[in-house]
Protein backbone atom coordinates (compact mmCIF):
# COMPACT_ATOMS: atom_id res chain seq x y z
CA UNK A 1 0.00 0.00 0.00
CA UNK A 2 1.27 3.49 -0.85
CA UNK A 3 2.43 5.64 2.02
CA UNK A 4 0.00 8.44 2.88
CA UNK A 5 0.64 11.94 4.09
CA UNK A 6 -1.95 14.28 5.59
CA UNK A 7 -2.09 18.05 5.90
CA UNK A 8 -4.65 20.40 7.47
CA UNK A 9 -5.07 23.67 5.56
CA UNK A 10 -5.10 26.34 8.29
CA UNK A 11 -6.87 28.73 5.94
CA UNK A 12 -9.84 26.36 5.82
CA UNK A 13 -9.96 24.59 9.19
CA UNK A 14 -12.71 26.01 11.42
CA UNK A 15 -12.26 23.67 14.36
CA UNK A 16 -15.13 21.23 13.83
CA UNK A 17 -12.71 18.66 15.32
CA UNK A 18 -14.22 15.76 13.40
CA UNK A 19 -10.73 14.57 12.40
CA UNK A 20 -9.50 14.55 15.99
CA UNK A 21 -12.55 12.53 17.01
CA UNK A 22 -12.20 10.00 14.18
CA UNK A 23 -8.40 9.74 14.04
CA UNK A 24 -6.82 10.97 17.28
CA UNK A 25 -3.56 9.21 16.30
CA UNK A 26 -3.16 11.54 13.32
CA UNK A 27 -4.48 14.95 14.40
CA UNK A 28 -4.06 17.29 17.35
CA UNK A 29 -5.91 20.47 18.30
CA UNK A 30 -4.41 23.83 19.30
CA UNK A 31 -5.71 26.05 22.12
CA UNK A 32 -8.48 27.36 19.83
CA UNK A 33 -9.55 23.86 18.86
CA UNK A 34 -8.18 24.07 15.31
CA UNK A 35 -6.67 20.87 13.93
CA UNK A 36 -3.10 20.14 12.86
CA UNK A 37 -1.53 16.97 11.56
CA UNK A 38 0.73 15.33 14.12
CA UNK A 39 4.42 15.62 13.23
CA UNK A 40 5.12 15.76 9.51
CA UNK A 41 1.76 14.22 8.66
CA UNK A 42 3.16 10.83 7.63
CA UNK A 43 0.44 8.24 8.22
CA UNK A 44 1.79 5.16 10.06
CA UNK A 45 1.01 1.81 8.44
CA UNK A 46 -2.40 0.54 9.49
CA UNK A 47 -3.95 4.00 9.95
CA UNK A 48 -4.65 4.66 6.26
CA UNK A 49 -8.40 4.07 6.64
CA UNK A 50 -8.57 6.54 9.50
CA UNK A 51 -6.79 9.17 7.40
CA UNK A 52 -9.37 8.79 4.63
CA UNK A 53 -12.24 8.74 7.15
CA UNK A 54 -11.05 12.04 8.62
CA UNK A 55 -10.67 13.52 5.14
CA UNK A 56 -14.18 12.54 4.04
CA UNK A 57 -15.82 13.89 7.20
CA UNK A 58 -14.22 17.34 7.31
CA UNK A 59 -17.06 19.82 6.66
CA UNK A 60 -14.61 22.48 5.46
CA UNK A 61 -12.69 20.17 3.07
CA UNK A 62 -9.56 21.30 4.90
CA UNK A 63 -7.72 17.96 4.97
CA UNK A 64 -5.46 16.87 2.13
CA UNK A 65 -4.38 13.25 1.87
CA UNK A 66 -1.60 12.57 -0.60
CA UNK A 67 -0.02 9.31 -1.67
CA UNK A 68 3.76 9.36 -1.67
Amino acid sequence: MAKLKIHVDQGKCQGHARCKSLAPELFELDEYGNAHEIGDGAVPAGLEDKAWLAQTNCPEIAIQVTEE
Binding site: Q14, G15, H16, A17, L29, E31, Y32, G33, P59
Partner: protein
Amino acid sequence: MSDAVSYLPKHPPVTDWVNDFDHTDPRWTDDPFPIWDELRAASPIVHTERYLGCYMPTTYEAVRAIANDTEHFSSRRVIVRDVRPEQTAKAPPITSDPPEHKPAKQLLLPPFTPDAMKKLEPRVRAICNELIDAFIADGKCDAAARYTKHIPVRAIAHMLGIPEKDGDQFIQWIHQILELGIKNQETLVKAAEEMDSYFAGHIEHRKTHPSDDLISTLMNAKGKDGKPLDDAHVRGSLRLLLIAGIDTTWSAIGAALWHLARTPTDRERLVKEPALMPLAVEELLRAYSPVTMAREVMKETTISGCPVRAGNMVLLSFPAANRDPAMFPDAEKVVIDRKENRHAAFGLGIHRCVGSNLARMEMTVALEEWLKRIPDFRLDPAGKVTWSEGTVRGPRQLPMLFGTTA
Protein backbone atom coordinates in the same frame (compact mmCIF):
# COMPACT_ATOMS: atom_id res chain seq x y z
CA MET B 1 -43.16 28.22 30.44
CA SER B 2 -46.29 29.89 29.16
CA ASP B 3 -47.41 30.15 25.56
CA ALA B 4 -49.98 32.79 26.49
CA VAL B 5 -48.24 35.57 24.54
CA SER B 6 -49.96 36.22 21.23
CA TYR B 7 -48.21 35.26 18.01
CA LEU B 8 -49.89 38.23 16.24
CA PRO B 9 -49.61 39.28 13.51
CA LYS B 10 -50.44 35.85 12.18
CA HIS B 11 -49.04 35.09 8.75
CA PRO B 12 -51.38 34.01 5.97
CA PRO B 13 -51.06 30.29 5.21
CA VAL B 14 -48.65 29.39 2.40
CA THR B 15 -50.18 28.15 -0.85
CA ASP B 16 -47.13 28.56 -3.12
CA TRP B 17 -44.03 27.34 -1.31
CA VAL B 18 -41.58 28.10 -4.12
CA ASN B 19 -42.47 31.79 -4.42
CA ASP B 20 -43.90 32.53 -1.00
CA PHE B 21 -42.19 30.26 1.55
CA ASP B 22 -42.56 30.90 5.28
CA HIS B 23 -40.48 29.05 7.87
CA THR B 24 -43.06 29.73 10.57
CA ASP B 25 -45.96 28.15 8.68
CA PRO B 26 -47.40 25.30 10.78
CA ARG B 27 -46.72 22.77 8.00
CA TRP B 28 -43.02 23.71 7.96
CA THR B 29 -42.92 23.36 11.75
CA ASP B 30 -44.56 19.92 11.67
CA ASP B 31 -42.71 18.36 8.73
CA PRO B 32 -40.31 20.59 6.76
CA PHE B 33 -38.59 17.83 4.78
CA PRO B 34 -40.99 17.52 1.82
CA ILE B 35 -41.15 21.31 1.61
CA TRP B 36 -37.34 21.55 1.34
CA ASP B 37 -37.35 18.86 -1.34
CA GLU B 38 -39.94 20.84 -3.31
CA LEU B 39 -37.94 24.07 -3.00
CA ARG B 40 -34.67 22.34 -3.95
CA ALA B 41 -36.28 20.81 -7.03
CA ALA B 42 -37.41 24.30 -8.09
CA SER B 43 -34.14 26.24 -7.63
CA PRO B 44 -30.92 26.39 -5.60
CA ILE B 45 -32.15 29.80 -4.33
CA VAL B 46 -35.80 30.64 -3.68
CA HIS B 47 -37.31 33.95 -2.55
CA THR B 48 -40.28 35.11 -0.52
CA GLU B 49 -41.72 38.63 -0.15
CA ARG B 50 -42.45 37.79 3.46
CA TYR B 51 -40.08 39.08 6.17
CA LEU B 52 -39.49 42.24 4.06
CA GLY B 53 -37.85 40.04 1.42
CA CYS B 54 -35.90 36.86 2.11
CA TYR B 55 -33.95 34.27 0.10
CA MET B 56 -33.36 30.69 1.01
CA PRO B 57 -30.54 28.56 -0.44
CA THR B 58 -31.89 25.03 -0.81
CA THR B 59 -28.76 23.05 -1.74
CA TYR B 60 -25.67 22.21 0.28
CA GLU B 61 -23.55 23.95 -2.32
CA ALA B 62 -25.50 27.23 -2.13
CA VAL B 63 -25.54 27.15 1.68
CA ARG B 64 -21.77 26.64 1.73
CA ALA B 65 -21.22 29.46 -0.79
CA ILE B 66 -23.21 31.94 1.32
CA ALA B 67 -21.69 30.83 4.63
CA ASN B 68 -18.21 31.38 3.17
CA ASP B 69 -18.99 34.76 1.58
CA THR B 70 -18.70 37.37 4.32
CA GLU B 71 -18.20 40.13 1.74
CA HIS B 72 -21.75 39.99 0.38
CA PHE B 73 -23.52 38.45 3.38
CA SER B 74 -23.46 40.01 6.85
CA SER B 75 -24.15 38.25 10.15
CA ARG B 76 -25.36 41.40 11.87
CA ARG B 77 -28.89 39.93 11.90
CA VAL B 78 -28.96 36.20 12.60
CA ILE B 79 -32.70 35.63 12.87
CA VAL B 80 -35.18 36.14 10.01
CA ARG B 81 -37.99 38.18 11.58
CA ASP B 82 -40.97 40.32 10.58
CA VAL B 83 -39.13 43.51 11.47
CA ARG B 84 -35.57 44.78 11.09
CA PRO B 85 -35.03 47.26 13.90
CA GLU B 86 -31.64 48.89 14.50
CA GLN B 87 -29.30 46.38 16.11
CA THR B 88 -28.90 47.32 19.75
CA ALA B 89 -28.20 44.00 21.44
CA LYS B 90 -25.09 42.65 19.74
CA ALA B 91 -23.89 39.18 20.63
CA PRO B 92 -20.29 38.90 19.43
CA PRO B 93 -19.00 36.88 17.66
CA ILE B 94 -22.22 35.41 16.16
CA THR B 95 -23.41 38.87 15.05
CA SER B 96 -19.90 40.01 14.03
CA ASP B 97 -18.39 40.24 10.56
CA PRO B 98 -14.67 40.39 9.69
CA PRO B 99 -12.44 41.95 10.93
CA GLU B 100 -14.20 42.17 14.33
CA HIS B 101 -15.26 38.53 14.22
CA LYS B 102 -11.95 36.72 14.70
CA PRO B 103 -10.70 38.34 17.93
CA ALA B 104 -14.18 38.07 19.48
CA LYS B 105 -14.39 34.39 18.57
CA GLN B 106 -10.88 33.56 19.73
CA LEU B 107 -11.82 34.69 23.22
CA LEU B 108 -14.55 32.07 23.40
CA LEU B 109 -12.79 29.12 21.75
CA PRO B 110 -10.38 27.90 24.48
CA PRO B 111 -13.11 27.18 27.08
CA PHE B 112 -14.98 25.01 24.54
CA THR B 113 -12.27 22.64 23.24
CA PRO B 114 -12.92 18.88 23.42
CA ASP B 115 -10.46 18.60 26.31
CA ALA B 116 -12.32 21.30 28.26
CA MET B 117 -15.56 19.43 27.61
CA LYS B 118 -14.11 16.22 29.05
CA LYS B 119 -13.80 17.98 32.41
CA LEU B 120 -17.49 18.91 32.28
CA GLU B 121 -18.63 15.44 31.19
CA PRO B 122 -19.00 13.84 34.66
CA ARG B 123 -21.30 16.66 35.79
CA VAL B 124 -23.45 16.23 32.66
CA ARG B 125 -23.65 12.47 33.26
CA ALA B 126 -24.80 13.15 36.81
CA ILE B 127 -27.39 15.71 35.61
CA CYS B 128 -28.83 13.13 33.18
CA ASN B 129 -29.13 10.49 35.89
CA GLU B 130 -30.70 12.92 38.38
CA LEU B 131 -33.34 13.72 35.76
CA ILE B 132 -33.98 10.05 34.90
CA ASP B 133 -34.24 9.17 38.63
CA ALA B 134 -37.19 11.55 38.89
CA PHE B 135 -39.39 9.83 36.26
CA ILE B 136 -38.16 6.30 35.53
CA ALA B 137 -40.48 4.66 38.08
CA ASP B 138 -43.51 6.20 36.33
CA GLY B 139 -42.88 4.03 33.28
CA LYS B 140 -43.44 7.04 31.05
CA CYS B 141 -42.54 10.71 30.69
CA ASP B 142 -42.62 13.70 28.43
CA ALA B 143 -38.96 13.40 27.44
CA ALA B 144 -38.82 17.02 26.24
CA ALA B 145 -40.27 18.53 29.40
CA ARG B 146 -38.58 16.18 31.90
CA TYR B 147 -35.23 15.35 30.25
CA THR B 148 -33.86 16.99 27.10
CA LYS B 149 -34.87 20.52 28.10
CA HIS B 150 -32.90 20.52 31.34
CA ILE B 151 -29.55 19.03 30.30
CA PRO B 152 -28.02 21.90 28.28
CA VAL B 153 -29.31 24.64 30.55
CA ARG B 154 -27.84 23.02 33.65
CA ALA B 155 -24.56 22.28 31.89
CA ILE B 156 -24.10 25.85 30.66
CA ALA B 157 -25.12 27.24 34.07
CA HIS B 158 -22.46 25.00 35.62
CA MET B 159 -19.86 26.33 33.15
CA LEU B 160 -20.84 29.97 33.65
CA GLY B 161 -20.88 29.61 37.42
CA ILE B 162 -24.51 30.60 37.91
CA PRO B 163 -27.14 28.60 39.82
CA GLU B 164 -28.47 25.59 37.88
CA LYS B 165 -31.86 26.29 39.48
CA ASP B 166 -32.15 29.53 37.44
CA GLY B 167 -32.55 27.31 34.39
CA ASP B 168 -36.32 27.69 34.06
CA GLN B 169 -35.92 31.45 33.83
CA PHE B 170 -33.31 31.06 31.05
CA ILE B 171 -35.60 28.72 29.14
CA GLN B 172 -38.40 31.27 29.31
CA TRP B 173 -36.17 34.11 28.03
CA ILE B 174 -34.96 31.98 25.16
CA HIS B 175 -38.49 31.02 24.17
CA GLN B 176 -39.43 34.72 24.17
CA ILE B 177 -36.40 35.70 22.05
CA LEU B 178 -36.14 32.84 19.54
CA GLU B 179 -39.80 31.90 19.02
CA LEU B 180 -42.19 34.63 20.16
CA GLY B 181 -39.67 37.33 19.18
CA ILE B 182 -39.89 36.48 15.47
CA LYS B 183 -43.26 38.21 15.39
CA ASN B 184 -43.31 40.25 18.61
CA GLN B 185 -40.59 42.87 19.04
CA GLU B 186 -41.81 43.98 22.49
CA THR B 187 -41.53 40.48 23.95
CA LEU B 188 -38.04 40.08 22.52
CA VAL B 189 -36.77 43.41 23.85
CA LYS B 190 -38.19 42.79 27.33
CA ALA B 191 -36.59 39.33 27.54
CA ALA B 192 -33.22 40.64 26.31
CA GLU B 193 -33.30 43.45 28.89
CA GLU B 194 -34.13 41.08 31.71
CA MET B 195 -31.33 38.76 30.65
CA ASP B 196 -28.91 41.69 30.48
CA SER B 197 -29.68 42.91 33.97
CA TYR B 198 -29.40 39.34 35.30
CA PHE B 199 -25.89 39.02 33.91
CA ALA B 200 -24.95 42.58 34.94
CA GLY B 201 -25.57 41.49 38.53
CA HIS B 202 -23.34 38.44 38.18
CA ILE B 203 -20.59 40.54 36.56
CA GLU B 204 -20.72 43.16 39.33
CA HIS B 205 -20.52 40.45 41.99
CA ARG B 206 -17.39 38.96 40.42
CA LYS B 207 -15.62 42.34 40.45
CA THR B 208 -15.29 41.92 44.21
CA HIS B 209 -15.56 38.10 44.35
CA PRO B 210 -13.43 36.68 41.49
CA SER B 211 -14.06 33.03 40.63
CA ASP B 212 -12.75 30.53 38.09
CA ASP B 213 -15.94 30.16 36.05
CA LEU B 214 -16.59 31.21 32.45
CA ILE B 215 -18.03 34.62 33.42
CA SER B 216 -14.76 35.46 35.19
CA THR B 217 -12.74 34.07 32.28
CA LEU B 218 -14.55 36.47 29.94
CA MET B 219 -14.14 39.39 32.35
CA ASN B 220 -10.40 38.72 32.51
CA ALA B 221 -10.00 38.23 28.75
CA LYS B 222 -8.12 40.93 26.86
CA GLY B 223 -9.46 42.42 23.66
CA LYS B 224 -7.26 43.02 20.62
CA ASP B 225 -6.22 46.40 22.07
CA GLY B 226 -4.79 44.56 25.08
CA LYS B 227 -7.44 45.98 27.44
CA PRO B 228 -10.04 43.88 29.28
CA LEU B 229 -13.40 43.58 27.53
CA ASP B 230 -15.95 46.16 28.56
CA ASP B 231 -19.02 44.95 30.45
CA ALA B 232 -21.25 45.33 27.38
CA HIS B 233 -19.06 42.91 25.39
CA VAL B 234 -19.04 40.44 28.28
CA ARG B 235 -22.84 40.68 28.60
CA GLY B 236 -23.21 40.25 24.84
CA SER B 237 -21.12 37.09 24.81
CA LEU B 238 -22.99 35.70 27.82
CA ARG B 239 -26.28 36.44 26.07
CA LEU B 240 -24.99 34.50 23.07
CA LEU B 241 -23.82 31.50 25.11
CA LEU B 242 -27.15 31.25 26.86
CA ILE B 243 -29.32 31.75 23.77
CA ALA B 244 -27.22 29.57 21.50
CA GLY B 245 -26.36 26.89 24.02
CA ILE B 246 -29.71 25.77 25.30
CA ASP B 247 -32.66 25.07 23.05
CA THR B 248 -30.32 24.08 20.22
CA THR B 249 -28.90 21.07 22.06
CA TRP B 250 -32.22 20.42 23.80
CA SER B 251 -33.66 20.12 20.29
CA ALA B 252 -30.90 17.85 18.99
CA ILE B 253 -31.20 15.44 21.92
CA GLY B 254 -34.99 15.46 21.65
CA ALA B 255 -35.01 14.76 17.92
CA ALA B 256 -32.53 11.91 18.44
CA LEU B 257 -34.74 10.31 21.12
CA TRP B 258 -37.79 10.86 18.90
CA HIS B 259 -36.03 8.99 16.08
CA LEU B 260 -34.92 6.15 18.37
CA ALA B 261 -38.42 5.83 19.87
CA ARG B 262 -39.81 5.27 16.35
CA THR B 263 -36.96 3.14 15.02
CA PRO B 264 -36.42 -0.02 17.09
CA THR B 265 -33.68 -1.36 14.79
CA ASP B 266 -31.47 1.70 15.34
CA ARG B 267 -32.26 1.73 19.06
CA GLU B 268 -31.41 -1.94 19.53
CA ARG B 269 -28.24 -1.58 17.52
CA LEU B 270 -27.03 1.33 19.66
CA VAL B 271 -27.78 -0.60 22.85
CA LYS B 272 -25.81 -3.60 21.54
CA GLU B 273 -23.00 -1.61 19.91
CA PRO B 274 -22.30 1.44 22.08
CA ALA B 275 -19.08 2.05 20.12
CA LEU B 276 -21.31 3.14 17.25
CA MET B 277 -22.44 6.20 19.21
CA PRO B 278 -20.00 8.76 17.68
CA LEU B 279 -21.13 7.97 14.10
CA ALA B 280 -24.77 7.80 15.22
CA VAL B 281 -24.57 11.21 16.87
CA GLU B 282 -23.20 12.76 13.67
CA GLU B 283 -25.90 11.12 11.55
CA LEU B 284 -28.68 12.23 13.88
CA LEU B 285 -27.20 15.74 13.81
CA ARG B 286 -27.28 15.63 10.01
CA ALA B 287 -30.77 14.28 9.64
CA TYR B 288 -32.37 16.42 12.37
CA SER B 289 -30.14 19.49 12.48
CA PRO B 290 -31.91 21.91 14.76
CA VAL B 291 -30.39 25.26 13.80
CA THR B 292 -31.25 27.58 10.91
CA MET B 293 -29.26 30.82 10.81
CA ALA B 294 -29.66 34.03 8.82
CA ARG B 295 -27.61 36.51 6.85
CA GLU B 296 -28.38 39.93 5.40
CA VAL B 297 -27.43 40.62 1.76
CA MET B 298 -25.12 43.65 1.75
CA LYS B 299 -24.14 43.71 -1.95
CA GLU B 300 -25.66 42.18 -5.05
CA THR B 301 -24.04 38.92 -6.14
CA THR B 302 -24.78 35.58 -7.77
CA ILE B 303 -25.08 32.27 -5.91
CA SER B 304 -25.37 28.97 -7.80
CA GLY B 305 -26.27 31.00 -10.90
CA CYS B 306 -29.07 32.92 -9.15
CA PRO B 307 -28.95 36.71 -8.67
CA VAL B 308 -29.19 37.80 -5.03
CA ARG B 309 -30.05 41.43 -4.25
CA ALA B 310 -29.06 43.68 -1.34
CA GLY B 311 -31.66 44.54 1.27
CA ASN B 312 -32.99 41.00 1.52
CA MET B 313 -32.45 38.59 4.36
CA VAL B 314 -31.23 35.02 3.79
CA LEU B 315 -32.68 32.06 5.65
CA LEU B 316 -29.51 29.98 5.97
CA SER B 317 -30.93 26.52 6.46
CA PHE B 318 -28.18 24.11 7.47
CA PRO B 319 -30.92 21.52 8.11
CA ALA B 320 -32.07 21.74 4.47
CA ALA B 321 -28.45 21.57 3.22
CA ASN B 322 -28.01 18.38 5.22
CA ARG B 323 -30.93 16.77 3.36
CA ASP B 324 -29.51 17.52 -0.10
CA PRO B 325 -29.24 14.21 -2.02
CA ALA B 326 -26.51 15.68 -4.23
CA MET B 327 -24.31 15.77 -1.14
CA PHE B 328 -25.62 12.82 0.89
CA PRO B 329 -26.67 9.52 -0.71
CA ASP B 330 -30.00 8.40 0.78
CA ALA B 331 -30.25 11.87 2.31
CA GLU B 332 -33.81 11.23 3.46
CA LYS B 333 -32.80 8.14 5.44
CA VAL B 334 -31.11 7.93 8.82
CA VAL B 335 -28.11 5.65 8.19
CA ILE B 336 -27.00 5.19 11.77
CA ASP B 337 -23.43 4.19 10.80
CA ARG B 338 -23.00 6.61 7.89
CA LYS B 339 -19.25 6.76 7.20
CA GLU B 340 -18.90 9.84 5.00
CA ASN B 341 -20.71 12.74 6.59
CA ARG B 342 -19.61 16.33 6.01
CA HIS B 343 -22.80 17.59 7.61
CA ALA B 344 -23.25 21.28 8.33
CA ALA B 345 -25.29 21.05 11.54
CA PHE B 346 -22.85 23.39 13.29
CA GLY B 347 -22.56 25.73 10.35
CA LEU B 348 -19.79 26.18 7.81
CA GLY B 349 -17.07 28.81 7.57
CA ILE B 350 -15.95 31.31 10.20
CA HIS B 351 -19.19 31.14 12.20
CA ARG B 352 -18.83 27.43 13.03
CA CYS B 353 -20.73 26.95 16.29
CA VAL B 354 -18.37 27.77 19.17
CA GLY B 355 -20.22 25.27 21.35
CA SER B 356 -20.14 22.33 18.94
CA ASN B 357 -17.87 20.27 21.20
CA LEU B 358 -20.17 20.99 24.16
CA ALA B 359 -23.25 20.06 22.15
CA ARG B 360 -21.72 16.80 20.94
CA MET B 361 -20.65 15.84 24.44
CA GLU B 362 -24.09 16.64 25.89
CA MET B 363 -25.88 14.77 23.14
CA THR B 364 -23.62 11.72 23.44
CA VAL B 365 -23.91 11.57 27.22
CA ALA B 366 -27.67 12.20 27.20
CA LEU B 367 -28.28 9.36 24.73
CA GLU B 368 -25.83 6.99 26.45
CA GLU B 369 -27.34 7.46 29.90
CA TRP B 370 -30.90 7.23 28.59
CA LEU B 371 -30.17 4.01 26.68
CA LYS B 372 -28.41 2.47 29.69
CA ARG B 373 -31.38 3.07 31.96
CA ILE B 374 -34.25 2.94 29.43
CA PRO B 375 -33.13 0.69 26.56
CA ASP B 376 -36.73 0.11 25.46
CA PHE B 377 -39.11 2.97 24.77
CA ARG B 378 -41.67 4.18 22.28
CA LEU B 379 -43.85 7.19 21.58
CA ASP B 380 -46.97 7.28 23.74
CA PRO B 381 -49.89 6.98 21.33
CA ALA B 382 -52.09 8.81 23.85
CA GLY B 383 -49.88 11.91 23.65
CA LYS B 384 -48.87 14.31 20.92
CA VAL B 385 -45.39 15.27 19.73
CA THR B 386 -45.06 19.00 19.06
CA TRP B 387 -42.14 20.86 17.45
CA SER B 388 -40.76 24.34 18.08
CA GLU B 389 -41.33 27.06 15.52
CA GLY B 390 -38.80 29.12 13.60
CA THR B 391 -35.06 29.26 14.05
CA VAL B 392 -34.44 26.16 16.14
CA ARG B 393 -36.38 22.97 15.45
CA GLY B 394 -36.87 20.23 18.00
CA PRO B 395 -39.58 18.42 19.94
CA ARG B 396 -41.19 20.49 22.69
CA GLN B 397 -43.58 17.73 23.79
CA LEU B 398 -42.25 14.19 23.49
CA PRO B 399 -44.48 11.72 25.33
CA MET B 400 -42.78 8.34 25.80
CA LEU B 401 -43.72 4.96 27.23
CA PHE B 402 -40.95 2.73 28.62
CA GLY B 403 -40.64 -1.00 28.12
CA THR B 404 -41.68 -3.24 25.28
CA THR B 405 -45.19 -3.21 23.86
CA ALA B 406 -47.51 -5.21 26.11
